[in-house]
C-alpha cells in the first residue's frame, strides 16, 4: 500500500501535526518507503494466530478506587505553559 498526497495531509491532521505544502511530497516519499518496508508482512501466514495482547502472562492487579497521590493543583499545573488559578488555560473552544 502507498499513500498519495491527500492521504499525507489527512494523516497529518489525524496526528495534529501542521504540514506545509512544500513538505508534503518529501513526507509522502518517506512514509511510502516505510510502508513498502512493512508491506512484506502481508506474505506471512497468520491464519488462526492470536494477536499478542500481553507481553508477559500476568494477572491484572486491582487497587482501591481512591485518590493516591494527589499533589495539589499548583503542583499539577506547575509545568503548564499557561495556567490561571490552578487551571490549565486553552484558547476559547465554545462560542
Amino acid at each position: 500500500m502507498s499513500v498519495d498526497q491527500a492521504t499525507v495531509r489527512r494523516i497529518a491532521h489525524l496526528a495534529r501535526i501542521a504540514v506545509s505544502d512544500e513538505e508534503v511530497p518529501h513526507l509522502q516519499q518517506e512514509l511510502n518507503a516505510i510502508l513498502s518496508f512493512i508491506e512484506e508482512l502481508s506474505a506471512v501466514d497468520v491464519e488462526g494466530v492470536e494477536p499478542m495482547t500481553s507481553v508477559a502472562p500476568m494477572k491484572m492487579v486491582w487497587r482501591k478506587d481512591a485518590v493516591t497521590d494527589h499533589a495539589g493543583a499548583d503542583v499539577i499545573v506547575a509545568n503548564a505553559p499557561v495556567s490561571e488559578d490552578g487551571f490549565f488555560t486553552v484558547p476559547k473552544v465554545v462560542e
Binding site: 494523516i11 489525524l14 496526528a15 495534529r16 501535526i17 516505510i34 512493512i38 506471512v44 507481553v55
Partner: protein, 505 residues
Amino acid sequence: MTDVTRLTLAQARDALAAKTLSSVELTQGHLDAMAKARGLNAYVVETPEQALAMAAASDARIAKGTAGPLEGLPLGIKDLYATKGVHTQACSHILDGFKPEYESTVTSHLWRDGAVMLGKLNMDEFAMGSSNETSYYGPVASPWLPPHRDGAWAREALAGDKKGLLTPGGSSGGSASAVAAHLCLAATASDTGGSIRQPAAFTGTVGIKPTYGRCSRWGMVAFASSLDQAGPIARTVRDCAIMLRSMAGHDPRDATCIDAPVPDYEASIGASIKGKKIGIPREYRIDGMPAEIEKLWADGIAFLKAAGAEIVDISLPHTKTALPAYYIVAPAEASSNLARYDGVRYGLRVPGKDISSMYENTRRAGFGPEVRRRIMIGAYVLSAGYYDAYYVRAQKIRTLIKQDFEKAYAQGVDAILTPATPSAAFGIGEKGSADPVEMYLNDVFTVTVNMAGLPGIAVPAGLSADGLPLGLQLIGRPFDEETLFSVASVIEESAGRVALPQPWW
C-alpha cells in the same frame, strides 16, 4: 592520586567501603572529567551542586555504617527518566522547560541505594533513533576515533558539526558515550528496539535490557509501552549486574511490573556455565553479513564451548518479520503515547488561530522530523480501515516470534547467542538521510527480543578490522537475567576487556 574515573563501579564501591576514597572525591573527579568532555555532548544537563550534596550525604552514611548497595557512586541518567526538579525532556523540544514534580521509580531506587546523580544524558528524541542524531540537543560523539583519524582532527570535528566522528549508537547514545569516556561509573538507559544493546556494542560497553516487567516504567517518558524497558549501560558485566539489582523491583504504579524478588545478580558473575545449552539461530546469519561479524560470532561460540557449554543449532523462523512488525507496533503505540504533547499541560506551546491549530503548530514545532514521521505512520496504521491489516496483523506476528523463542527454550536451550549489531559504529551524518529504513536496519538483531519481551545483553567480544568495538548479544528466558550475566561474564573474560579510548577530546 590515580584517576578515579578509571575505576569500575565495583572497584569504586569497594574503595568507598574500605574508606580509601570518599564519594566527594570520586564525584568531583567525574565532574572534572565531564567539564573537559563537553564537546562529546553526552550530557545535556550537569547537576554538580546536587551531585556534591548527594556525595557528602553518602560519605556521612558510609561513616555511620548505614551505606546502601550503591552508596556514593556517581551515575548518569538518561534524559527520559523523570528526575524531580531537574530537566527531563527525552531530548525533545516539545517538553521545553519541563521539570517534573516527581521522581521515576527506577531513579528513586538508585537514590534509595545511595547513588549520586551527575546529570542528564543525551538521547535520540523520545528514544526514536539508532545514532543519537535525532536529539533536539544535537548529536553525541563516540569517544572512539574514526578509522585513520587522529585526536587533532577529531577535536576540530568536535568543535564543528561533528560530521565524520563516530556515533555512539542510539537511542541511549549519551549513556553509552558517557560510560565509554569515563564520564560516569554507569548510566541508566532504556530499550524499545535495541536502544541499550546497540549503543553498548558500538562503544565497547556492556548493556542489558531485562525482561519486560522487570523494571518499573513509571516516570519514564513513554515511547512504545508494550516494548519499553529500563536497563543499565556500564563498563563491565559485573557493574551491569550491580546496577540492575537496584533498578529492578516491584512497583504498584506500573501494572506491567512483576511482583517477584530481585535476585542478587552479581552472584551470577563467574558462575560455571558447564553444560549450559547455547542456541545459535541460523536465521541471524543474514545476507551480506560482514566477515568480521561472522568471525566475532564464531569466536563467541568457541569461548562458550571452551567453558563447557553445549552449542546447539536452533531455528527462529519468524526472525525476518520482527523488524517490519516493530515498525507497525512501535509507531502505533508512539502515536498514542505522544498524543499527550499538545501544548496544554507541559512544555512548548505555539499559538494558533484556534485550539486545533494551536495543537498542530505546537506539535509541528516541538517534534523533530523522525518523531513526526513515526507519529504519522502510527496514526495511519491505526486509522479506520487499516487497523486489522496492519496493527492486528503485526500483533499476530508478534505471537509467532514469541512462539519461536518458546520452542527453542522448550528444547532445553538456556540462552541464545547472536551478534548485537550488523556492523561496527558508523559516522555521524552517514546514514538514513535519504531513506529512514536504512537506519532502522541497525536493530535487526535486537528488535526480536523486545517483540518477545525477553531479556538481552550486549557484551564486547572483539574489535573490527578498523579497531572498533564489536558486541555479541545473549538472549535469555523470561526473568532469567542471571544466566545472561553468567554467560556474558565468560565472553568478557575470554575476549579480554576492551581497552576504552584515552581522552583526546
